[in-house]
């Protein structure tokens, strides 16, 4: 009686575990247009970020996106942490010090400007949302800190969005100041096409194309949203190995204990 039911329980666990492990980082819902699956270095179960890709992605963010989009939840120090772009400590210092941030008040009670330190959060392009709207035709550029988790499709969606600009199809009315985008829900987006070939100069020999920019910045934004992903996958592998061994031991122990009953052993001794 026990073997089939034990097998059933084990099969159930596997049935849940397997499709889940194969599932992309973000399960989408079906409200957005079809988003093509891309292959990412960080896909579960063993994926890690490609440091060079994250560095390039950060460069795209810094040189293009950051003129409108904030990333309030990140600090410059994060750029040097393991499981991320892993810039050298010196590079992080330099990247931070290139930015002027407001500090204070000083002993005279005045706010002052100083170069940023690695511990400072990313400087936002606008002091407040109203200013951001005012500078962007009434549209608010969203903060990008967790954008890769805040949109169905995640990194796939971000890549599709950044490469989704094209002329509107016949008969599609695009409102003034809006742009046609194949991936954006409703197909009308306020953000003008941010990328064009050659707009960011890569130094590692990667081709400076919109496709590469979009891929790199999408990967960078995935890291920004999920900075502990590498650690999670690494710990996960150990935990899974431990649990699989454990579950086998428990199964054998269970069989051994219940075998006592079959051999005519005492049932309820008490």
């Amino acid at each position: 009686m026990r073997s089939p039911s034990a097998t059933l329980a084990a099969t159930l666990a596997l049935l849940v575990a397997l499709p889940v492990a194969g599932m992309a980082e973000e399960a989408g819902n079906n409200h957005a247009p079809e988003i093509a699956r891309q292959s990412w270095s960080f896909s579960p179960p063993f994926g890690t970020y490609d440091n060079a890709q994250l560095q390039r992605g950060f460069q795209v963010y810094k040189e293009v996106c950051s003129s409108c989009h904030s990333m309030r939840l990140l600090s410059y120090r994060n750029l040097g942490e393991s499981g991320g772009p892993e810039f050298s400590p010196k590079a992080v210092d330099i990247l931070a010090s290139q930015v002027q941030v407001t500090d204070g008040p000083n002993e005279k009670g005045e706010m002052f400007q100083r170069p940023a330190r690695p511990s400072d959060p990313f400087r936002s392009p606008f002091a407040n949302d109203q200013l951001a709207r005012n500078a962007n035709n009434g549209a608010l550029p969203p903060d990008l800190s967790v954008i890769a988790k805040a949109r169905p499709g995640g990194a796939d969606y971000l890549y599709a969005l950044l490469t989704g600009y094209r002329p509107a199809p016949e008969g599609f009315q695009v409102a003034q100041g809006m742009h046609y985008n194949a991936a954006f829900p409703g197909h009308q987006i306020a953000m003008p096409p941010p990328l064009s070939d050659g707009v960011v100069s890569y130094t590692d020999g990667t081709k400076p194309t919109v496709d590469n920019y979009a891929r790199d910045v999408a990967a960078y934004l995935m890291w920004a949203a999920e900075p502990k992903l590498e650690e999670r996958h690494k710990v996960g592998a150990r935990v899974m190995i431990f649990l699989i061994v454990f579950v086998v031991i428990m199964y054998l122990a269970k069989r051994a204990v219940w075998a006592r009953l079959k051999h005519g052993g005492a049932t309820h001794a008490a």
């Binding site: 575990a17 599932m23 819902n29 988790k149 805040a150 710990v235 428990m250 204990v257």
Partner: protein, 431 residues
Amino acid sequence: MAHPSTYQPKTGIERWLDARLPIPRVMHDQFMVFPTPRNLNYWWTFGGILTFMLVAQIATGIVLAMHYVPSEADAFNSIERIMRDVNWGWLLRYSHAVGASMFFVAAYIHTFRGLYYGSYKAPREVLWILGVLILLLMIATAFMGYSLPWGQMSFWAVTVITNLFSSLDSVIPGLGTRLVEWIWGGFAVGGPTLNRLYSLHYLFPFIIAGVVVLHIWALHIPGNNNPTGIDVKTAKDTVPFHPYYTIKDGFALVAFILAFAAIVFYAPNWLGHPDNYIPANPLQTPPHIVPEWYFLPFYAILRAIPNKLFGVIALLASIGILFFVPWLDTSKVRSTRYRPIYKWFFWAFVLTCLVLGYLGSQPPEGWYLILGRIFTVYYFAFFLVVMPVVGLIEKPRGLPGSITEPVLGPQEVKAPPAPKVPLKRKPAELV
């Protein structure tokens, strides 16, 4: 089954404690030698799994509460801080969030198991009622917990659900509005609302733990039901809880944790909604407000009713009706195994719950709404019509003579089946 104590204190300190607070005696009698039917299948392991999940949720929750800030301005950011800067914060938070889902997976399986094997029937009515109470408390706790990240779904779920109370305005004008404002602590969902949700989210798990103690107490008076649904007759029908069920439950628990861990480590946001990573914005409604998956069947029932007040009543009734199941079911036989007609209705009910769950995730329009209404009707008809009527007209299959019989085969003296019913039957005639 209440059984005479077999505890023998062995050491001086055990004798001393036994005369004052006999915890070792209770542990020995109720958890070591407790006579448990020998034929419990793996559907019976979810009680232990649920106990583990409650403890896991409380443990992770207490640590999360050390870092969480329940204010409109800081709630979202404090959770991101847990994810980024707190040591192992990502693991705590994902375990807690996924844990809520796994808790409901186990609770629903446990409930359906009770329904299938008739575990609510005499003398286990109080046990069942306490279980339904725990389910209600879990629903409240999970709902309040989901509000705490203060993302878009959190905020709008709170807005939609608390607004349900305003339907009372159609009974006594002004009553609903006043009640909703009292719940909100203001004129809109805001900081005071978040604070009270947080306070109650911390309180409720301990109330659940208290009711769980009563639930286990109420289990240990009549003892476990079992897949045959027939009572324990001799000592041969039972085995001591330890080691037989500690090891069986333990194996099932580890298998369950394996599935749990796979989600936590490889798809932690699978069961969540992307919109909840957008900070709450009272000025912008998400295109589709959907609750967590474990509320979707109830949400579908709510939306199937065109009238708001009656929708809310149906929503409450969909869970409340479970309290009356022990008296709605008229069958003399506990286990659905021996109920040839009811069996089909039971599986149709399981299917109904799954379909309602799917419909709850879809916009309430067109066919989704029509199907939602059809399945809502069956949901209630199952309790109000099928349970009382089928129990009366159905001829149950012959029951085995004892629990041991189907396990070990007919024993030396074969007791005749209690309600002697011919095994040969023609279902068509019965319907």
